[in-house]
Assembly symmetry: D2
Homo-oligomer: 284 residues x 4
């Protein structure tokens, strides 16, 4: 896979933005591979993702800031530049359920997820063998009810040591305290096993079973302070019927959770997601 540069930006919408940015890339001898933008009418925001071939780009990336600053200031942009050959560090938190972890590790190994995995942290030792198989470091930090706070600090410490770029909660059954959110703002991806905002909170498959819905869903979203309320990245559903027991729901749901989480993770790694307000734009 050849390297490409990805410029992601958000600013108040106004005339000439596409021209200004594409001209900047062109003037410095970059070749736009793909450009996508979105004008959000409600907020008056302009959001853009430009992917370009930097082979002949005449600005050194370490000095990109300096050259782009005048444009960024003029248009009041929030922006960041990424490179596709930079592999971000993903830390995974997991409890006992292994399906999402197994799926992420397999996709990582097969090259589908272009990231590093410096650490997998779990409150249970059960998933150590699969992490070992894929040669990914695995740390067990039990989270006892009576000592939750201390455990959380240990996890934070471990994370600070490994400095991941983002966190994935691969069916991690503990609620994270606010410190995690402030250290990793818009950088913690969770998988919730329902079609949010239906069935917020605990045991969504049980809730779905009791309500008698005809499809069950899964939702990946960025974690915010309000439970199950963060910006939604991806959702999907699968049909069920009266024949499906609660166990069948759990099983069908597992297949869904894996796919929905892995899509969100891949898009995050590929710098395809922009958050605005409590929503996301996914440039696919």
């Amino acid at each position: 896979m050849k390297n490409s540069a990805i410029l992601l930006l958000t600013c108040p919408d106004r005339k000439g933005l596409v021209a200004t940015i594409s001209d900047f890339v062109f003037r410095h001898n970059g070749n736009i591979l793909h450009a996508d933008e979105h004008g959000d009418e409600e907020s008056g925001l302009f959001l853009m993702r430009v992917e370009f071939d930097p082979k002949e780009f005449d600005i050194n990336f370490s000095e990109f800031d300096k050259h782009f600053l005048p444009i960024a200031q003029k248009y009041q942009m929030q922006w960041r530049l990424a490179q596709s050959n930079h592999r971000p560090k993903m830390a995974i938190l997991v409890s006992k359920y292994d399906h999402c972890l197994v799926d992420l590790l397999y996709r990582h190994k097969s090259g589908e997820l272009a990231c590093e995995i410096p650490i997998v942290i779990s409150n249970h030792p059960d998933n150590k063998p699969i992490a070992d198989f894929y040669r990914v470091p695995f740390s067990v930090i039990p989270v006892p009810k009576e000592n939750k706070r201390e455990a959380e600090q240990k996890i934070l410490g471990l994370l600070r040591q490994h400095r991941p770029d983002f966190l994935v909660l691969a069916r991690y059954m503990q609620i994270l305290p606010p410190e995690f959110l402030s250290e990793y703002p818009q950088r913690i991806i969770n998988i919730h096993h329902s079609f949010l905002p239906a069935f917020v909170g605990a045991k969504p498959y049980h809730q779905a079973f009791v309500r008698g819905v005809k499809l069950i869903g899964a939702t990946s979203h960025y974690v915010t302070e309000v439970l199950d309320d963060g910006p939604i990245i991806e959702q999907d559903l699968v049909r069920i019927s009266h024949r499906d027991s609660l166990d069948d729901l759990l099983q069908k749901g597992r297949d869904l959770e894996k796919v929905v989480l892995s899509r969100a993770v891949r898009w995050h790694i590929e710098n395809r997601i922009l958050v605005y307000g409590n929503k996301t734009v996914v440039f696919t």
Copy 2:
């Protein structure tokens, strides 16, 4: 289409039910075309739908009761017998949106919905031309805020006169008072324009737009006293993205509503739905 008889029943689950019922049909020279049952573990209920060819059946349907009574009593069954060549009467209530009405009338005319439509009632005159085109009686009963009660009584009176077997709310924008529910228990089908229980109440597409979901849904259900809480018959969803404006959601939603409502109506007509607790079994 040849005629078939459909026996629908619910009773406490116990050994020998399938044998007893299929033997009853066989003994009286009926030929089972299709049998389907469901044992609900939670409630301990047995639910069954048997469709049989009554051509050589040796019991006159007017005397079916008498012959089936011993079995029904022994097993404490709730049951009903229907015939596929009996066309039930469907009354439609509609407001200004016409997409569901147009769809139902077309399917009715094309033979997909084997029912009679004695009356379409609306609080607005807008949809009279399409009802006229399909030669279906159309009555306008305005429902002014200051005189809601009187209008409701008029509608009830009109219904009593036409004696429909069931009611369909094809995007009828008024909440029905309890009298309707007691006159048509489990026989009023509504279409709600969200994937229930997400986005209960008014303006679900607006709610969905604000929440930033990645799919929008529609739900057909039997109406009960609690708003948008009745037994769900059918649901479906369609993918949306940040590119979709609120208008796009409304348009995509219309296509969904039509399909989800018409499925529910067809299954109701074909006696495929059994309600138990607040859930449905749909024998498809």
Copy 3:
């Protein structure tokens, strides 16, 4: 709906195309509402769709050619300019099946399809009433086997008189002779009732039934000289099972055909489709 201008173009891929085009629009005081492009690696082609607000655009559209010519020539572009408030003329050809026609006419009336319908032509009189209801001209031109050629000439004549921008075959059961293709190149949209390239030719639902597939499909495509082989615009499928008779397949298929055809027609009207080789790009 406010007016927008849509520039569609194809040319050999090279550096600076996005910049050049967006700069052209910006320089002439147009505001880009949405830009989308695609680089096809195999053919080395660049395809782009730019939608811009022409309110303050300083070039009169009648003179757009002249101003854009230097760019078009330099980059060897094939291009066209459209305006969203120009309503293209769509002629519909239909036989006896009415579901696609009914759907198109309804969507047209409800404002979903921003086109004019100068003429509906059929080889049977059956669908005249619905065309009358929607006040769309309807001409019957029988196509007898022994006089096919003459009938085709009549149809061509009628079309020449009404000068439609494109043709829609809404389950028209006659094969069109080459003259139609040369008069309306890449402007005849057909709906084929299978997931092409499976089940080419006659009676695809029968073929699907015999083969025992688990889903049935529909495909809308531009008509070319080779039967069922033109560039595919849209496809979709629906699940079936052993319970579905051939009649059920036909009924489920009808719902699919309507939706798949109407999407293709809307995208064509909205100038979202670019054909390259035997494939399409649909900028949605």
Copy 4:
């Protein structure tokens, strides 16, 4: 999971079959948990699956034959009896692609596939580590072009030694000779990476890419003598667009293949599939 008995049968359709079979089960004190049947109008066949609780069944399964024989003969039934707590033996053949193998082994370990895996056979050593991880025997038998016949005999020998009940080709890239089909009739499950009958043969994703389809599919089927022509068990599709490169198709396809194959395997293990003619009934 408690044990249940599953009776699968096919016979010419006639009156009284459901009654006769359910009465037989009831008379011998079995409790029907689920019964499902299908009457195929074209062939005049009756196909049935009865699942019953054998706890108080008064016939020893070793003598079931003797007791059921009179019924089976009278109605010319083809039938078999299975028990849910009997774990059939599944042999897997695989080449280099690992996604289906990894998925099957994980589902096996997690309890979703109630079978034994006595042997995985591959023409390449690449997938040994994952088999080792899941503690499943793995044999490498290279299949050189110049010595194909000998390799096939070795594989057959190995299979004879392990006596699997059925074979799964988890992206095994060799065509099996007729001997395999005669030893495992209707017991070899293949996954083909297209929506059959579209794109028969080699490189279906390439074919799909060239044809410009808007969805790609996968098909699991029983292997017969004609390539990619056996009875279809399950199919599914996923949407693609012009943005998807051939590599993207391959990646999206992998997710599809896993799911479609694992469903077919689970249904086979749970005795849910009946083959008739070149089609299947799947009692789900």
